[in-house]
């Protein structure tokens, strides 16, 4: 199975890259964008066949390395 982890800056943490993306979209004529936040996605291939324990394990990975919880939030998606 796979774990797909979405990591983004916490609400309230300034994201100058996201702001620049929103501004650039506006310059290009996309008027409907009121805000952009930039994050990253990490995909892990897992040998486990138990989605529940896999998620707990990935949770640990997020806390210990993949995300910096001072500034970032993360969401874990387990897919077969």
């Amino acid at each position: 199975m796979k774990a797909i982890i979405h990591i983004g800056l916490k609400p309230g943490v300034l994201d100058p890259q996201g702001r620049t993306i929103a501004r650039s979209l506006a310059h290009m004529g996309f008027e409907g964008v009121t805000k952009a936040r930039q994050g990253k996605t990490i995909e892990l291939d897992l040998s486990s066949d138990n989605a529940e324990t896999a998620k707990l394990e990935v949770e640990k990975m997020c806390k210990q390395l993949l995300a910096n919880t001072v500034i970032e939030d993360y969401q874990i998606e387990i897919v077969e």
Partner: protein, 225 residues
């Protein structure tokens, strides 16, 4: 005083740090590769600037999980003096030895220039030898130097005198103009500017800080004697 400089893949200020340490202490520092699991017996450790592991994932994130940093965290807890400059500061926050995080510069530009700083706390083991001097200039050269911490942490840093250096004319958006902080016990310093690049008038002329960095290393030397 015997010092050590930690070397990671893509450290690029390790030799600047070694030159500064040798100049001030009279002894060559030990250069310690990041895969070592145990620090040799030393009185002071410098984590140098650079782009360890290509800044992959987050600046300093991978280096902070290397074997040698585990031992540094342990020994810093026992009082070993440790200083991290630039990427070294990022590594120290990622390793949890210092609070907060260093984010992308607010202006989204790499900044590289001489930077005026205020010494906010001249009574630390890293700043005592400045003897009341409150303004210095060190070079800065970074993309991710924008210091962030939550409000409680910022208040605590302020209250306990742990903000050691502040920018005069903030170059990167750091909260409270923070350029350098120390831990609660006062033996771990992290800062984005480069004192190790301001120890030789040939490299850094007087208008650009000259030898303003020397007193930082002298402070440590005097403290561990």
């Amino acid at each position: 005083m015997q010092s050590a400089v930690i070397v990671f893949p893509a450290s690029n200020c390790d030799r600047d740090a070694a030159t500064a340490l040798e100049k001030v202490t009279g002894r060559k520092p030990l250069m310690v590769w990041h895969e070592e699991t145990t620090l040799p017996k030393v009185d002071f450790v410098v984590i140098p600037g650079g782009f360890s592991y290509g800044d992959y994932l987050r600046s300093g994130a991978i280096a902070a999980r290397s074997p040698i940093v585990r031992d540094i965290v342990k020994k810093a807890g026992d009082g070993l003096p440790v200083a991290g400059f630039c990427n070294g500061f990022q590594i120290l926050t990622e390793a949890g030895l210092l609070p907060g995080a260093l984010m992308r510069n607010k202006g989204l530009r790499f900044v590289c220039r001489p930077q005026k700083l205020q010494i906010v706390n001249g009574d630390t083991m890293f700043t005592k030898a400045y003897k009341g001097i409150t303004e210095v200039t060190y070079p800065i050269a970074h993309f991710d130097g924008n210091y962030y911490a939550d409000n409680d942490t910022l208040r605590e840093l302020r209250k306990s005198g742990r903000i050691v250096f502040k920018y005069i004319d903030n170059p990167n958006g750091s909260l409270n103009d923070i350029a350098g902080i120390c831990n609660e016990a006062g033996n771990v310093l992290g800062m984005m500017p480069h004192p190790e690049r301001a120890v030789d008038p040939l490299i850094c002329d007087s208008g650009r800080g000259g030898t303003d960095g020397i007193a930082l290393f002298k402070s440590v030397l005097e403290a561990v004697r």
